[in-house]
Symmetry: D3
Amino acid sequence: MSSAAFDVLRKVTTATITTMLLKKGIRRCWMNGPKPLVPGGERLIGPAFTLRFVPAREDLATPESWGKPISTRAAIESMPENVIAVADAMGIQTAGIFGDILCARMKKRHVTALVTDGVLRDRSGVLASGLPVWCAGMAAPASVNGLTFVGWNEPIGCGGVAIFPGDIVVVDDDGAVVIPHDLLDFVAHEGAEHELYESWVFTEVEKGAKLPGLYPPNDDAKVRYAEWRRQLG
Amino acid sequence: MSSAAFDVLRKVTTATITTMLLKKGIRRCWMNGPKPLVPGGERLIGPAFTLRFVPAREDLATPESWGKPISTRAAIESMPENVIAVADAMGIQTAGIFGDILCARMKKRHVTALVTDGVLRDRSGVLASGLPVWCAGMAAPASVNGLTFVGWNEPIGCGGVAIFPGDIVVVDDDGAVVIPHDLLDFVAHEGAEHELYESWVFTEVEKGAKLPGLYPPNDDAKVRYAEWRRQLG
Amino acid sequence: MSSAAFDVLRKVTTATITTMLLKKGIRRCWMNGPKPLVPGGERLIGPAFTLRFVPAREDLATPESWGKPISTRAAIESMPENVIAVADAMGIQTAGIFGDILCARMKKRHVTALVTDGVLRDRSGVLASGLPVWCAGMAAPASVNGLTFVGWNEPIGCGGVAIFPGDIVVVDDDGAVVIPHDLLDFVAHEGAEHELYESWVFTEVEKGAKLPGLYPPNDDAKVRYAEWRRQLG
Amino acid sequence: MSSAAFDVLRKVTTATITTMLLKKGIRRCWMNGPKPLVPGGERLIGPAFTLRFVPAREDLATPESWGKPISTRAAIESMPENVIAVADAMGIQTAGIFGDILCARMKKRHVTALVTDGVLRDRSGVLASGLPVWCAGMAAPASVNGLTFVGWNEPIGCGGVAIFPGDIVVVDDDGAVVIPHDLLDFVAHEGAEHELYESWVFTEVEKGAKLPGLYPPNDDAKVRYAEWRRQLG
Amino acid sequence: MSSAAFDVLRKVTTATITTMLLKKGIRRCWMNGPKPLVPGGERLIGPAFTLRFVPAREDLATPESWGKPISTRAAIESMPENVIAVADAMGIQTAGIFGDILCARMKKRHVTALVTDGVLRDRSGVLASGLPVWCAGMAAPASVNGLTFVGWNEPIGCGGVAIFPGDIVVVDDDGAVVIPHDLLDFVAHEGAEHELYESWVFTEVEKGAKLPGLYPPNDDAKVRYAEWRRQLG
Amino acid sequence: MSSAAFDVLRKVTTATITTMLLKKGIRRCWMNGPKPLVPGGERLIGPAFTLRFVPAREDLATPESWGKPISTRAAIESMPENVIAVADAMGIQTAGIFGDILCARMKKRHVTALVTDGVLRDRSGVLASGLPVWCAGMAAPASVNGLTFVGWNEPIGCGGVAIFPGDIVVVDDDGAVVIPHDLLDFVAHEGAEHELYESWVFTEVEKGAKLPGLYPPNDDAKVRYAEWRRQLG
């Protein structure tokens, strides 16, 4: 992983990241569902560590299953530091995948964040754990009420998007985006440039400039921006 | 009603309550839809007083219907103190079942809370009434815009769950759960024990313990917990 | 436009407006989807300036399209002061119709508010622009990721409601309602009276009055209200 | 019940019935969901006999519940001849409310038809029973898998429409409509006239007439239709 | 319009057409919703003539509106021969956009087919009209029950796809696809070649060939297909 | 696998199978979505061979991907005879997972049936292949338009139900059910008995018997059934 690219991307909005990916023909990169449990926090980035659920079946999804070798508990103990755990809960909103204890353990293991298209349980406990969480809401019932856990570090879907182990996940107030592994450096470089351009445009708008010809720029705007960019260094 | 059980359950999360009900084979107890209008308040409990709506039909659902013997007004005047009113609005989110005036009257009659899978209207007025509300959002139109009120204290569905008069409802930040009347004492007793166990587990996790073998506990963890539990008294 | 009616309606809740429209047989006037990005602000009113999107097609919905004569940029430059821009995004929640720059330009042009059944992008930037926004949430991707912009000041649908240029839009914490142009004066006059009546009812409820006979009023309540209303002047 | 009106309405399409109800301001009369299990059959009419379900709860919705006093079995034995049974299954499509045996018993009791916004089970058995059925599809599981039966001849919702005992139900290939009891004669009389008018229009269209001025008619068309109508007697 | 391309495409499945469009980066070309009212008919093709609806509002969507200058009647009289009429009904399934009379008039005007993401009304009458129809089902109520007609030959969305006047529409048993005007010749030429290749593959599979290496072809398969193609002439 | 149990279950409806599974506490066994492409065929049974898709991402889901080692083609070549292939398409209805060629190859490999909560493409070609298919409909676009194939013989969800390799799948006109491997013999034995009982009940109903006391049986009915059962041998 390129820590330099990570440092750059911490200053690039997920909005800009999706526009850079569109330049490469990728429209399906933003997860529909995950929202910050606590809005207004800092942007986070990390490699994806995937978790996979299928629907519950009463003979499989039991509290006893929590002690099996393939369990959310075992998955958490396999997480390296600094990953972003991404859980495919098939968008089910009636069973909370994790509660306070599992979130506390993830925090202890230096997991950067938890992202899911499903929901969590025990809101006050999860908040107390200090783990940054992006999810689709809260439900009281445990995961086994609606979900069967089947494995980790497999390809998954989350919020309508494909995520493969090794892809990069970035989360901020707009939600969660995935950057395919091979596009990390492209997105970081182009994204940083784009942010600069948008900051110049914003200044122009503040001065009263009209949008047509500015964004996207016509030749005049390109010259003026180049000058501004040159002075910036 | 067992007021002792009520006192116990005020300290048990709805998350834990659903897990206790799962021990009895009950998975469908959490209402999908109702959320606290004001998060972070205290947990509330009370017997369910049900309200039932069907869809609007233009000859029935009129402002004039508010004056009929079967009306939301009459239902409210029939509510005993300390109940939790649960309204089956069929999940319809385009007509607010109650506004400020009806909520104020319920508050005056010492209703504990209002729970619905539908929405309310006049957000600032409802907040001003002081009635604790769990609902699926807000809409400006009155109930008659989308709903016809047909009765109270009948069996209803709310958020995908069956609720019968006399069942017990508990609400907190994770939403609303229903406890079948006959399971109240079981849930209270087991729930209190479970909360104790989880608080010990949380302490262990804070110390750095791994999850496998801890939750659910292996023999070693059982011994250590029993010791901790014994000292607690 | 009747600025007197506008002044009256700034003190009438959207809840009351929908009830007045129901007197004229209009049930479909509240938009399902738009919610205030910042709750608790003041109620806003203005004539509707409509924006229309259709679904994205990869040959049409490109960043290059932002520079075309029919573009969101050109639409914004056509907006008169004090309008409320209403965008038909077909309820799509995976592409943000506008971000910080376009909102800043609308603010600069003295647009009163932006309303959409879709979502915006770049939450912190939009908040920084100061433009009041009613929308269905946030998504990082740009409009072209899911939408093609096709025109302005045409009839549109927004949140299940028809909106024609020249209709009046009012927004508050309950969301957004549309008043057909010809009903503006009726709604303003009746709405103001209704608010007075409800404030009297609220006072009565605070004193402990029962609802039946009060709302809607029986003959006794009518007399008492008339007296109160007379004293009010 | 007016059997004369019933005889008239057997020749009036449900499409025309909804247009007649619209003349009285009623837009919500067609049930979204019920479709003929066997298309192309004859139009049927009868007074509504309602059945009501709420969601399943595992302690209530059991095969044992089929033997209780409040059960689908008891409801069927209470059905008078010639009714149309209308079941509120809340649109749930994962549990079949009735199978071959219950349909066969209803047929034996001379029930005219079964209408539901839910589904049936055992398709070949239901077809073999000979009972005309309008439903939203088929599912193998029994009602108790997703539903709890709670009563009959109560007001219900079905497919987004309110239905009260005593209302009239008409079903044909377009689905199921409800006629409020008090509007039966109006709808029958106006509907029959409207069908005549449409048959004349259809003839005109076959001759090559343009639609504007014909449907709705301008003065010339009114005269020509009156002549045609007069000759018809 | 290229009638030669039309003749070619009448022999190319909509499945193949979507694959050819994917070669040009276009994934959004198949309309989700329209299905043949009568399956098993011949494949049809024609330029799109668009119709646009917005939601109903009770003051606008009335039977009287059928006589206005902007009405479905006027739109039909504006249709050239051989077009495929495509109606944006926003996927609403509770109001039938057209019934027997309007379909009969379209048939009389030599309209090739009607396509909509909404529904029709009066199933037997529509079938009797002989107009080929692709729709999402049937509902008894008239368009004004849920829709307001606002114009024709504007850009629309239908089934999640953008359609501009002049685009080409092809319908068969799999549904309806749109070909952007500029891609017509490409799709016709490539599509015809692709069908040939698939017919060869199908023959190979019938002989027992394995799929890997065949579809997509490896070098050996390419040689064998080239030989078969050469002999075909 | 017990071929005797298979032979028994070919005569037991999926409706009865779900009731037998309910006796073991299993409510989630019927797949919501898969329907027979050709209704009225014979009931089929086989061990599940699972296929798994995640959402499409433009860099992964390409026609080129069809030639990769992990591809639908390779999966098909791994299928043993007599399995029922079950594909988790996440209920996506805008991309057909398989068309005529892949179905023809599965037929050639003696696959018993294909079941999916998604859709197929090229309806007439799939019918021509002769492979029995249970699916949620048809769409023209290829799988890569909306889906990325990621593996086979993994645990999957299909239609809201968990399916593990080795589970047994039964399909008939009501759709598709899964029998957990360990419950096969129980379901076969109990199911056959239950079918007998239902056939006796049906006969009784034909004779005019009332349902209460018959289904479920009271003591008298039990005696009469036992006698009938005894004579049957």
